[in-house]
Symmetry: C2
Subunit: 343 residues, 2 copies
């Protein structure tokens, strides 16, 4: 293990970061650059051992990312972005799934496997503020996602209310007046869909439209099947929406499947907007208009926070609430409004 990343970088005449990128294949590297670095690796007999420098500091070089759903492409895409961001700091990522259950969120947040991880990025669904304030000595933590906490931890989330308002405002500009919200939850005020539902309500009221609770559908989960059932329930009770704003893309995709089965056209009969901008949204027979959070920024801010905490050996003196960006990706399911008025 005498040969370091730095030795390879010097031999190849490139930066350590470039060597790291080649070794990890986490970023696009030109074929020429790759060949140059590979040659230096071969000449020096370098064997990557990313964890060596962490071990010297009593660390493992592994950070955990705990997400509620492994099968939700949003979290898979976010995990990919976190893996990339972590690799730039020579960290590898252990991905954990909590199934969105409070017991599991509690378990990971309180230091489950603390002996193998240096820090945790957690996207909670049911964890409460008091669960977090009672947490002691379990290592650096960063929170992700829509839930709000009064706890001394950095929390990375886009402005969910503003994003939801843009989605609903877009549907209003298309002339839609009966805009349903699919994917609400019963129960506590701060559960995930809360901010997006608030944005739906605020935007409708800003346009002088009623926020009709009969157009809000509670779902059990956040998957395609939940969206399909929610849409069917809405149509079965005669609600006749002319647009749907879904809590996430999977619910929107499930809703579109039900609309197709019922012979309703998208966007002709019902315009649909999702949230997450998963790749699948771009490839449906009718592509999906959706709120696109800046996943790379979310991942980078989260990893930077953990790395800073590890470097300082302490949590942030004041918890930070950075706001990564977002934009509305306008596609076929709710196209751009025609100039000059409503359709």
């Amino acid at each position: 293990m005498g040969v370091s990343l730095k030795d390879v970088a010097q031999r190849a005449g490139v930066s350590v970061k470039t060597v790291s990128n080649v070794v990890n294949n986490y970023q696009h590297v030109t074929p020429g650059m790759r060949a140059r670095v590979q040659q230096a690796i071969d000449e020096l007999g370098y064997r990557p051992n990313l964890t060596a420098r962490h071990l010297r500091k009593g660390r493992t070089g592994i950070i955990a990312l705990a997400v509620p759903e492994f099968g939700n492409p949003y979290f898979a895409e976010l995990a990919g972005a976190v893996i990339d961001a972590a690799a730039r700091h020579d960290y590898t990522v252990l991905v954990d799934h909590t199934a969105g259950l409070r017991e599991n969120e509690l378990l990971v947040s309180q230091g489950f496997r603390a002996h193998v991880i240096d820090g945790l990025i957690l996207s909670p669904i049911h964890l409460e503020t008091e669960d977090l304030t009672g947490r002691t000595g379990a290592g650096p933590l960063v929170l992700l996602g829509e839930r709000e906490y009064e706890a001394p931890y950095d929390h990375i989330a886009i402005d969910n209310v503003a994003a939801a308002r843009e989605a609903v405002g877009h549907l209003v500009a298309l002339g839609r007046r009966r805009i349903a919200f699919l994917g609400s939850r019963t129960g506590r005020e701060r559960q995930p869909a809360h901010l997006r539902l608030r944005g739906w309500r605020q935007e409708l009221e800003a346009h002088g439209l009623p926020a009709d609770d009969s157009l809000v559908v509670v779902t059990d989960g956040y998957g395609r099947a939940d969206g399909a059932h929610a849409m069917a329930a809405l149509l079965d009770r005669g609600a006749a929406p002319d647009a749907v704003f879904a809590y996430n893309d999977l619910i929107a995709i499930g809703a579109m499947r039900t609309l197709a089965e019922r012979g309703l056209s998208v966007p002709g009969d019902v315009a649909v907007v999702g949230f997450d901008d998963i790749e699948e949204a771009r490839y449906g027979t009718v592509s999906l208009t959706t709120v696109s959070p800046d996943k790379e920024a979310i991942a980078r801010l989260a990893v930077d926070s953990l790395v800073a905490q590890l470097k300082d050996g302490a949590p942030p003196s004041a918890p930070r609430r950075p706001r990564p960006g977002h934009h509305l990706a306008v596609r076929e399911s709710a196209p751009a409004a025609r100039p000059g008025g409503h359709r």
Copy 2:
């Protein structure tokens, strides 16, 4: 840490496995059973520490699963199944992505992070037999997927040739005669698409149909964009297929998007069959007919192999090649043939 899983099981009057399932939320547990176990957990003050018994044996209780693409839902779904299967043996899973690159596959197969993992399940794309035969002392290994190796490791894969033949046979039964294959690769004989392409060829020839190489499209990768580009290339060169068999569902979904953009109907103009049966396949505006591998069986066989190797302290005396099952999930993109003949 005086309270064990066993103590909780005894208090609740259930099996240790049931307690484990509740603690990990990896399987559906009835609400009544959950409440009963939760009560025992609360009464005893049990804190899960899944790794304790592994640590006593000098192990970490973590197995790694290395997949080529994190963003491919097939691997996300497979990872979920592996996590479930591993949990039944009190193992947790670290998911690694190799980006399908030989250097990374080599890295993980040769014991990258061997200090934190007890064993590895690897789904390789480019690794060669000689890379594996040269591997020494890096812990238990199980291989997954379509590539074939002559190496002393257990290898879990469905019968890809038979599965591809069923897919193509289904299209022939629908009266299709110009059946394209999307997702071939150039280069080495044993690269991933090889067996599925062989099945395509064998089945066509079995029906006395020509296996027309102008209907085979090479792709750079295995994503939706690759499928969209491959379909466009095929149409642009005037190939006029009446059916598509795609290497995987993502390529099939990308192809269907291109067909929609070109005004061609599925299955009317072009019938489409994929491979993997990812959840997305069931929720398109036109649902996708696809080969459905038994992911639970794949995961269970892989984990069982690793656990047996860890128990025996040695690799299998003779490498095993179990064949998990598969079936063709028939949906709208290539529906069941009507009785009495072709359409």
